[in-house]
């Protein structure tokens, strides 16, 4: 079967964009609902449950409320950028989905339809490039609001996102080393089980790259400004952070951008580490599109729908863990955040890449073919690394609290300052004494 082309291709692409974009917007709306619901469950509450069946229409009510609210224009704001910022926050989060494969290809009368909006050959690079654009919304909003709180939030946000971007990009390098390609569908194929095919691993990458998954997840949290990395918002200290001055639909755009980014990150974790739309322990979904556009496998509509469902379930579960983490961990202090980003994650990711590269080299030289055994060997390396880091190294070095050490340091500084003052006073007293050349009075020196 050949790929769809010509007029039907254009129509199919437009349909795909419409359907997937609608699905994304719907899941953003649903995401806010799920977040509030799960947060309530964690705190032994019920959450929104009065509007519509089990509160599902709460989202519609909130949207309506946001539309009807007064739109504020702070007098100190730079109007153009102030208006542009919400759009800049919303767009990167919602256009990332273009290169994510949602389901297995579907057959039509005119040829098969690949269930990905744009199968660009540099998919992973596109993702990294667009994901880092999210920082512009934050910086613009913070600066153009003309408010100190918003400014500090924007400043922190840019510092944080720039710091963690490096870790985010580097934590994908092991994936690319295994896939040998930056096309996103290729990474999904790598994780599918083709018996007897030595080009696929047959195991979800979470197993051979356990630590890499953790690092990508962590830096993904930081990139989306979620707790424990939500310093740009920091309600307790910065009121609302970069979107303090926003109201009505402009504020809603920030919220949608945040959730869009979050859902996209959940989808990326799924695609890179949890097999994408692959259904585990079933080889009926072994359908792949090679780089030159030919199709291997037997596509069917029911398979497409089934794999779409699998993808949504997996991404939904990852999204649920984001919420779970948010309502568990407290926010990092700014210095802890910077320490973690620059002094741990970047170094560790670099070491990790080297270790995995060496492991791959050794395994290849040993003549081991791609497959579950290969993945198991890599998993062993990962487990050793994880134990080293989390049970030996992580003793107040990853996140340094304001404990006894900091207290001791502060006390030492205070005593130093006091001693200095005392010495100056003593010197002054001695100087006066010499000038006066008066009779020696021993007690005056001691009294200071």
């Amino acid at each position: 079967m050949t790929e769809i082309s010509g007029g039907p291709f254009v129509i199919a692409t437009i349909l795909k964009v419409l359907v997937f974009f609608t699905l994304l917007i719907l899941s953003i709306a649903l995401g806010t609902y799920v977040e509030r619901r799960l947060a309530a469950f964690i705190q032994d509450r019920s959450g929104p449950n009065r509007v519509g069946p089990i509160g599902l229409l709460q989202v519609a009510a909130d949207g309506l409320k946001n539309l009807l609210k007064e739109e504020t224009w702070p007098s100190a704001a730079y109007k153009g950028f102030f208006l542009l910022a919400p759009a800049m926050a919303l767009i990167p989060g919602t256009i990332l989905f273009a290169v994510i494969p949602f389901a297995s290809p579907a057959p039509t009368r005119w040829g098969y339809v690949d269930m990905i909006v744009a199968d660009v050959p540099i998919g992973v690079l596109y993702i990294l490039a667009i994901a880092s654009l999210g920082v512009y919304g934050v910086v613009m909003a913070g600066w153009s609001s003309g408010s100190k709180y918003a400014f500090l939030g924007g400043l922190r946000g840019s510092a944080q996102m720039v710091s963690y971007e490096v870790g985010l990009s580097l934590s994908l390098v092991p994936v690319l080393m295994l896939a040998g390609d930056v096309r996103v569908p290729e990474i999904v194929t790598l994780q599918q089980h083709y018996p007897g095919d030595a080009t696929t691993l047959g195991v979800w990458l979470v197993a051979p790259l356990l630590v890499g998954t953790f690092l990508f997840y962590l830096t993904g949290l930081a990139e989306t400004n979620r707790l424990p990395f939500d310093l740009p918002e920091a309600e307790a200290e910065l009121v609302g952070g970069y979107h303090t001055e926003y109201s009505s639909m402009k504020f809603a755009a920030f919220m949608m951008g945040e959730y869009g980014h979050l859902i996209t990150t959940a989808m990326l974790v799924t695609v890179f580490f949890f097999g994408g739309w692959d259904i585990p322990f079933w080889s009926g979904d072994n359908i792949r599109v090679t780089a030159d556009g030919s199709l291997i496998g037997e596509p069917a509509w029911w398979k497409t729908l089934l794999t779409l469902l699998a993808f949504m379930v997996k991404a939904g579960l990852v999204f649920a863990t984001f919420i779970w983490v948010r309502w568990t961990l407290p926010r990092f202090r700014y210095d802890q955040l910077m320490d973690l980003g620059w002094k741990f994650i970047i170094e560790f990711v670099t070491v990790y890449i080297v270790v995995i590269a060496v492991a791959i080299y050794v395994l290849d030289r040993a003549g081991l073919e791609f497959g579950p055994a290969y993945a198991a060997a890599l998993l062993g390396v990962n487990v050793i690394l994880a134990v080293l880091v989390f049970f030996l190294f992580d003793r107040g070095r990853l996140i340094r609290g304001a404990g006894r050490e900091a207290e001791r340091e502060a006390r030492r500084r205070m005593l130093d300052a006091r001693r200095q003052v005392r010495q100056q006073a003593l010197a002054r007293a001695l100087g006066e004494e010499a000038a006066l050349a008066a009779t020696a009075d021993d007690s005056s020196e001691e009294g200071e």
């Binding site: 509450r45 568990t328 992580d394 990853l398």
Partner: protein
């Protein structure tokens, strides 16, 4: 005997973040999946009110529907916030009754002195709290309204043992 102070050993800088975080995640997961909820779906399920709750007033009535009040004037005297307005009158048989009896529920502090001081047990506080009005004037309950209310009286004391002996 003097109490002893329990000194907790605080974790210093030596703690592991990842392990502490996983412990916290365990706690939240436990709460997330357990069905117990503290939320009360208020208008649907209501509180079981204590029998001694002091809420909206009620005026007791005779069997023929007349208010029991004899207009003695004790309740406006004892009321600490002056929320009771009473103008007594006398009927053709020489019996006193309240010509005007109004309680401003907005001003009332629900101390229950009026119920305590009433010699004929006419005015009572009730086990009822859901009052809402569109204007302040509506909060002044007149005699008619007070007699029409139907919620239970507050049990200021045990009816079987009124002098609490």
């Amino acid at each position: 005997m003097a109490g002893s102070v329990k000194v907790l050993k605080r974790p210093g800088t030596e703690g592991s973040y990842v392990r502490a975080a996983s412990k916290g995640l365990g706690v939240t997961l436990k709460h997330m999946i357990r069905p117990y909820k503290v939320t009360q779906q208020y208008p649907d399920e209501k509180w079981e009110l204590a029998p001694r709750l002091r809420g909206t007033h009620r005026m007791a009535v005779h069997e023929d529907g007349r208010a029991k009040c004899v207009g003695c004037g004790l309740c406006p005297t004892v009321c600490p916030v002056n929320c009771i307005k009473l103008i007594p009158a006398e009927d053709e048989n020489g019996e006193r009754y309240a010509a005007i009896y109004e309680i401003d529920e907005f001003r009332c502090i629900f101390c229950g002195f009026c119920q305590e001081v009433c010699p004929v047990e006419a005015i009572h506080l009730g086990v009822h709290y859901e009052n809402a009005e569109y204007s302040r004037e509506r909060w002044v309950y007149d005699l008619e309204r007070l007699t029409e209310l139907e919620h239970p009286y507050t049990a200021l004391w045990d009816p079987a043992d009124p002098t609490s002996q």
